[in-house]
């Protein structure tokens, strides 16, 4: 019953809140059906819990009270669910769980090790070929961009992938479940059975998954995965292409789980025995690490200090700060999403920099998702996938930008999935950015989507005027330039889309001021941004605003000028007035004049009304957002 109450309640909230607020706060909530009377909600973590309790709980109570009108009182409670403890389901017998807490090393010593050995012996065969193949790959790609390269030895390729890996011994994992998301879905029942407190859950989760997790998952999909799917173009330009047209089995080592993180000695190899793996490593070092060398570099300019807080991003900032203070804790992964140029990458780096400050030798790896894909393809070619895995699983924090570019890249998703699990289990922090809410990424596996929501998902929205001004002032300060308020407002009014463009524009203005040795004034800004403003002015004249608004609401421009006061016309008229005030420099009387000779108080009222509705009415908010986008490109 509480399920249906919640369904109605969240539907109601869906209408009341903006999509982003709803996605961030309401969508992650679930109903705990095991509890007694009333509506008992579960929040994925304390952060969401606090926020919801603070801002939405009262409203939820109101809605529920309304919903239950006439029937008995229905109290609403909310507490933290133990979602991430879901891996506890891997254990076959829940009762054994606690016993295993103190035996974390059970895993490496039995079955999977056999897999290791068989894999490594085949790897040995490959080691010699490795070198040649990676060499030729490298020189070819360097050339393909039309750049002369000095290294051009290209006489060997490696066609022996499938032969070497066909029987690398992971077939025995056929027991692995096909539907990962199902397996991982948390069950409130089990959680409440085995996990009285947060801390305890975390501990048990950790070991339970170390037990059986890795090799269960690793078997999925591999047999039908082919290499060709994601091969990047440089490889196909190879004069003697790698044998990629043949579907070949991915060289998956059966210890692909977290056991990778353990040194070989622990896995049963003595360190004084020359091991094929180390040979392999030396061979590909230059190539793999050539790729790695530049990738872990955080942008030192992207810190919390240089991040300008505003209403639109305070949530993201708060979440990132939390993560920086408690990495690998309950906000793992931190998933930051929002439109382009709003500071997602900045926040991500800020966490990384903060972590480094606290622990200077921490291994913080930042990379763009494309890099992850490219490195993986390369690693597969060089038979260095183990090094790839080991590298990514050895980090203290992994920061991947623009995760939406994983869409459609199944092999990368597969690989990332395992990396993700390993890191989460190891308590290493993951931070991801994306241009949209996880569930809305097309072409991304469900199990990844659901995992992305395990930690904390926060949205960054476009900055409102005040924040844009604050950003400009701060950045000018940092550059030791004087930016008067009116000039800052002028720029902020014109550049509304995102922070990146705002900063680009400011750089241009500051350079203009420096080159001409003149202080920044509105006139100088006009001069510096001549071409940009000319383009905008064509878009944001009152005439054009009226045209665009009328078209959007499917009414006539003349309706906006008319005396008609029916809602279907009056609301669009108010929106158009609001936009005219917001986007142009016309005065209230001038705007009133352009709308059928109306009084300036009418315009003022319209502006106030729309401002109010922006907070309360999701539809109007959406309309204004769309119109702004049309009008300001």
């Amino acid at each position: 019953m509480s399920d249906s109450i919640w369904e109605r309640c969240s539907q109601q909230l869906h209408g009341e809140l903006s999509a982003q607020l709803f996605n961030t706060w309401i969508r992650p909530l679930s109903v705990d059906t095991e509890q007694g009377a009333g509506l008992n909600l579960l929040a994925p973590n304390r952060f969401v819990l606090d926020w919801v309790s603070d801002r939405y709980l009262r409203r939820i109570e109101e809605i529920v009270a309304q919903d239950q009108k006439g029937s008995a009182l229905c109290p609403v409670t909310i507490r933290v669910s133990a979602k991430r403890q879901s891996a506890s389901q891997f254990r076959r017998d829940p009762a054994t769980l606690r016993g295993q807490v103190s035996q974390p090393a059970v895993f490496g010593t039995h079955e999977p090790l056999n897999g290791n050995e068989s894999f490594d012996s085949t790897h040995d065969l490959n080691a010699a070929n490795n070198f040649k193949s990676h060499n030729s790959y490298d020189s070819n790609t360097a050339n393909s961009g039309g750049i002369k390269s000095t290294n051009n030895s290209n006489d060997n390729t490696n066609n022996a992938y499938d032969a070497n890996y066909g029987n690398s011994g992971y077939g025995h994992h056929s027991e692995a479940p096909q539907d990962g998301s199902k397996v991982f879905r948390p069950s409130a029942e089990q959680l409440s059975l085995t996990s009285p407190s947060d801390a305890q859950i975390n501990a048990s989760h950790f070991t339970a998954s170390q037990m059986g997790h890795g090799h269960h998952l690793s078997a999925e999909h591999y047999s039908h995965n082919t290499f060709g799917g994601e091969q990047s173009a440089p490889i196909t330009t190879n004069e003697q292409p790698l044998n990629n047209s043949e579907p070949y089995q991915i060289p998956l080592d059966s210890h692909s789980g977290h056991s990778d993180r353990r040194p070989y000695e622990q896995q049963g190899f003595r360190s004084d025995t020359p091991h094929p793996q180390t040979v392999g490593k030396r061979l590909e070092k230059q190539d793999i690490e050539g790729g790695l060398a530049h990738r872990s570099h955080l942008n030192t300019g992207f810190t919390f200090k240089s991040f300008v807080e505003g209403k639109s991003n305070q949530l993201g900032l708060a979440a990132a700060t939390q993560v920086a203070e408690n990495p690998g804790g309950s906000y793992n992964p931190l998933f930051i999403y929002g439109g382009v140029g709003l500071g997602k990458t900045h926040l991500m780096h800020a966490v990384g920099n903060a972590l480094l400050q606290r622990k200077p030798n921490a291994k913080i790896v930042y990379l763009h998702s494309e890099r992850f894909v490219a490195d993986m393809v390369k690693a597969l070619q060089l038979n260095a996938i183990n090094d790839f895995k080991r590298y990514y699983r050895s980090v203290d924090a992994l920061l991947i930008d623009d995760i939406q570019f994983f869409a459609g890249k199944e092999r990368s998703q597969e690989e990332f999935f395992h990396t993700f699990n390993a890191l989460l289990e190891g308590g290493q922090q993951i931070i991801l950015t994306c241009d949209r809410y996880p569930k809305e990424i097309n072409g991304l596996e469900e199990r990844l989507k659901s995992r992305f929501g395990w930690g904390l998902t926060v949205a960054i929205e476009p900055p409102e005027l005040e924040t844009r001004v604050a950003i400009l002032k701060t950045k000018a300060d940092q550059a030791q330039m004087i930016l008067p308020n009116d000039a800052a407002f002028f720029i902020a009014q014109r550049i509304r889309s995102n922070v990146r463009e705002l900063e680009g524009t400011l750089k241009r203005v500051m350079a203009h001021s420096q080159f001409t040795a003149k202080p920044i004034t509105i006139d100088l800004v006009r001069e510096a941004l001549k071409d940009l403003l000319a383009l905008q002015d064509r878009l944001v004249s009152i005439d054009n605003i009226q045209r665009v608004v009328a078209e959007y609401y499917k009414i006539k421009v003349s309706d906006l000028h008319s005396k008609r006061r029916s809602r279907s016309v009056a609301r669009p008229r108010q929106v158009a007035m609001y936009l005219a005030k917001d986007l142009t420099n016309h005065s209230l009387p001038e705007i009133g004049e352009s709308f059928g000779g109306r009084d300036h108080t009418t315009v003022l009222h319209a502006c106030r009304k729309i401002k109010e509705l922006l907070e309360e009415d999701a539809d109007i908010a959406e309309d204004v957002k769309n119109l702004l986008r049309t009008l300001t490109t």
Partner: protein, 233 residues
């Protein structure tokens, strides 16, 4: 290390595309100053110059390529669009400076937009520089990938103006001077009339006239110029 040392495709740099023979009109002082600082490794990592055809963007990009002592790549997109973007962009980020011409042609080519977007990111991650030239206002390039568009507009953007008629005369005279000859304003006007829109054509004619007058051992006058060009036709 496979450092890209030279550019490629079928395109080569024109030897005479340098800063020293680029005449800078008063309205282009600031973009040129910005470009010169950019080439010295100052300021932001990406710079975007835009202007309409004939304003000299290609010349400027090639001049930067010439001048740079670090590994540089010059990529005229117009000529590269038929190639596989991943091939062309692969490892370009290893160059310290990548000069990309005609970026407006990216619009509508999803593969190229994406590849260029990734190249932009890789260059950033490597701390390497990107110089872009567009022949339309970058704010109006109809790119399908918002991530890329915002990166273009997040670069420092300068408009390079086309030269006025009078400025073209100055530019021609300056170009002649660099070649070691002196031409009158009348001769310059005559040349401009013969190549009304195309700056490049203008300079080609100047070269042609210079060569002929040298062979004929005669000073370059309007009459001689007319004679040479008519003979040639």
């Amino acid at each position: 290390m496979n450092l890209p040392e030279q550019l490629s495709l079928s395109i080569s740099l024109q030897d005479d595309a340098t800063f020293s023979n680029f005449w800078v009109s008063p309205s282009n002082q600031i973009p040129l100053k910005a470009l010169s600082l950019f080439c010295q490794g100052e300021g932001d990592l990406s710079l975007l110059l835009w202007g309409f055809g004939g304003c000299g963007l290609t010349h400027l990009l090639q001049a930067c390529s010439h001048q740079s002592r670090l590994p540089v790549a010059y990529l005229p997109l117009k000529d590269a669009l038929d190639l596989d973007p991943n091939d062309v962009c692969a490892n370009l980020e290893r160059a310290s400076l990548v000069c990309v011409d005609d970026i407006e042609t990216l619009a509508g080519n999803a593969q190229w937009e994406l590849a260029f977007f990734h190249l932009y990111n890789r260059l950033r991650d490597n701390g390497h520089r990107l110089l872009m030239a567009s022949h339309t206002n970058p704010a109006a390039i109809p790119l399908a990938l918002p991530d890329l568009h915002s990166r273009l507009l997040g670069s420092v953007v300068y408009r390079v103006d086309n030269l006025s008629q009078e400025e073209k005369i100055d530019a021609l005279q300056m170009r002649a001077k660099v070649r070691g000859i002196k031409i009158s304003a009348d001769v310059a006007r005559f040349i401009i009339k013969r190549a009304p829109k195309r700056m490049k054509k203008m300079f080609t004619i100047l070269e042609q006239l210079d060569g002929a007058s040298l062979r004929l051992q005669k000073k370059l006058s309007v009459r001689l110029a007319k004679q040479i060009l008519d003979d040639d036709a």
